[in-house]
């Protein structure tokens, strides 16, 4: 049996949605069945809405195609990308659950060095339910893991950690390289299983990959907008990057943590590097402006909710990146539209939208 013993990690089956963007088919779900079947799936169908995407039997799901997105959001649907997996963030918006796990449809179950199938979802849940430690680097990585702890010299006052907002998983086999690297190293495969989870320190940015990603939607959901990509846009393959940079700035501001490392999934499909190059091309040199922008972005103390932080960021994007290209003005608009749509679909209830600021910067 896949899950024979009483799981020590809670299943969270009524608190977690799995969001999957797809344009082809969902055959990959068969391999994930032992791990995913208890959960509700939100399928975001990209591309031609008249195509019928068959969902394997036995899964509980809701499926949205472009017509649904247009119908639900009306004019605000303009913020959701078309012909790009960035459309997945629509799934985050319509979910009603506390946690989201998102995975690409070319990602399969990986094996750990002992040959055992890796339950990626269980590891993400472990990561999200245990604290992060962004204020001081623990050299033995995640101190809350079995068999690990804080090292000598780690201040006791920092050992409680902070809530974990995002769990960023990795990939074996086809690595997530950009197009130039793929062109230079078409045969490189990631075969190194690094048995670690670690918190990315406060003030440090990273490239967030959306292929194998978990997050606390209640905490950070509104910051997980995947931008304007794909059809009619000058750029692609920067959706998750964009979300990751916005998210990290906001998490750093609000005192939450981001983990990276385990779990691994098996990434099976190498996308065409020439197609990728066309999509990424502008991103590669815009990135040089984006990184200093995010590294120096500060949010005022009165931004006490994710939405307020995000709107503030959108203003800074407009003011500072608008000069780089008009695209960023469109993107800043879309960021605002996203928050408006989010708040419409997720009206603040008894849980206040404001959260207390984390420890002072």
């Amino acid at each position: 049996m896949a899950q024979a013993s009483v799981p020590s990690t809670p299943l969270l089956k009524d608190e977690l949605d799995i969001v999957i963007p797809t344009i082809r088919n969902l055959d990959f779900l068969e391999m994930w069945r032992p791990f995913f079947q208890p959960y509700h799936l939100i399928i975001v169908q990209d591309g031609d809405p008249t195509k019928v995407i068959k969902v394997p039997e036995g899964f509980d799901y809701e499926l949205y195609n472009r017509n649904d997105i247009n119908r639900i959001l009306g004019p605000k649907a303009s913020c959701i990308s078309f012909k790009d997996s960035a459309c997945r963030c629509f799934g985050y918006m319509v979910s009603k659950k506390k946690y989201i796990y998102t995975i690409d449809d070319d990602c399969f179950v990986a094996k750990d060095p002992s040959g055992k199938d890796i339950n990626a979802l269980e590891q993400h849940i472990k990561n999200l339910l245990s604290p992060s430690t962004p204020f001081f680097f623990n050299t033995l990585y995640d101190p809350y893991r079995d068999g690990a702890d804080f090292v000598r010299g780690y201040p006791f006052s920092l050992r409680e950690g902070v809530p974990t907002a995002v769990s960023h998983g990795l990939w074996l086999n086809i690595p997530d390289y950009d197009a130039p690297t793929q062109l230079v190293k078409p045969l490189e495969r990631n075969t190194r299983f690094v048995d670690a989870v670690l918190t990315i320190p406060k003030g440090t940015l990273f490239p967030m990959c959306g292929m194998n990603l978990g997050f606390n939607r209640e905490l950070i959901g509104p910051a997980m907008y995947f931008g304007l990509m794909g059809d009619g846009q000058p750029i692609g393959r920067y959706d998750d990057m964009w979300a990751g940079w916005c998210m990290k700035v906001i998490c750093d501001h609000l005192g939450w943590g981001v983990k990276t490392g385990l779990p691994y999934i098996w990434h099976s499909k190498a996308s065409n590097p020439f197609v990728n190059l066309k999509k990424e091309y502008k991103g590669i040199y815009w990135q040089e402006e984006l990184i200093p922008f995010f590294q120096s972005a500060t949010l005022p103390k009165d931004c006490t909710s994710v939405q307020k932080c995000y709107i503030e960021l959108s203003k800074q994007v407009r003011a500072k990146l608008g000069k780089v290209d008009e695209y960023f003005i469109k993107l800043a608009d879309a960021m605002v539209t996203w928050i408006e749509a989010w708040d419409e679909l997720n009206p603040p209830s008894e849980a206040s939208a404001d959260v207390t600021n984390g420890p002072a910067k």
């Binding site: 201040p155 006791f156 990184i291």
Partner: protein, 356 residues
Amino acid sequence: MSQASIKDIEIDIVIGALHSDLTSFMNEWRPVFSRFHLIIVKDPNLKEELQIPEGFNLDIFTKSDIDQVVGTSAALHFSGYSCRYFGYLISRKKYVISIDDDCIPARDNKGVLVDAVAQHISNLTTPATPFFFNTLYDPYRKGADFVRGYPFSLRSGVTCALSCGLWLNLADHDAPTQALKPMLRNSRYVDAVMTVPARALMPVSGINIGFDREVVGPALFPGLRLAGEGKVRWETVEDIWCGMCVKVVCDHLGLGVKSGLPYVWRKEGGDPIESLRKEWEGVKLMEEVVPFFQSVRLPRSAVTAEECVVEMAATVKERLGPLDPVFARAAEAMVEWVKLWKILGAGSSSTRVQET
């Protein structure tokens, strides 16, 4: 990425001898150490004669050497674990590797003996990437690279000045942790090296390190000495203190610090409950030390490690001195150290000697 080929003559291995019988230690490390020059510094408080097996190229320094070279210094103490700093001072090599004398080579997940020296050198001679985190860890390792979204302008990296290794078996936990979890042993071999990002501080353990002496030598010194400092790591924080200094210096000078491989196997020893009595001092001090280092800002005019340490010493004296005399003494030690370094430590005898 081409790696500079480092000749063995550019490396010193410095061992602080806290135990007199180094026979099994040296024999265990023989396959790794025998190519290199070793500096063995005997803890001045150790009474017994050192026992060292044949077949090594080494120099031994004892209390009388230390006294002769350093003279009488009220501020600087080279006893206990700090004896190794004397070795750092008088070394003339570009790279120094230092390992505690209660550690032996570890084996990796495939059972292969880990050449800790080779890994430290590899870490030190490939760039570090402190300005942006690479999710596949060290991009210069075979089979890895920078991931999508990593800015190209940051891909040449910076010089790696410090390489912090890890420990299997008895990990470097503090006494309270080890006392609470007496069975806790580190059996997880994490196959990664990564750059610790700029402005992120960490506890640097002196048990297994390598560094570029030419670049950060002045920032590794015996500074913070606990009143009850003892002969087990649980009763010290001297390495944690200078590790913070080194990280601040590296962040300021645009240098990198790596953490992860290599592992060493740390043997059983000491009684954490016994050490608890003494270590509370260290644990309490860390509560002041960490916020202090997180807020230290060095002036633009400090462009060498020496200048950085002098500036830091002044700030330590001013801000931490009033809190506890141990900090005032640390500040004095830092100033003394830099003076000593300028006379004795600066320079190496071979900088990338090209001829064979």
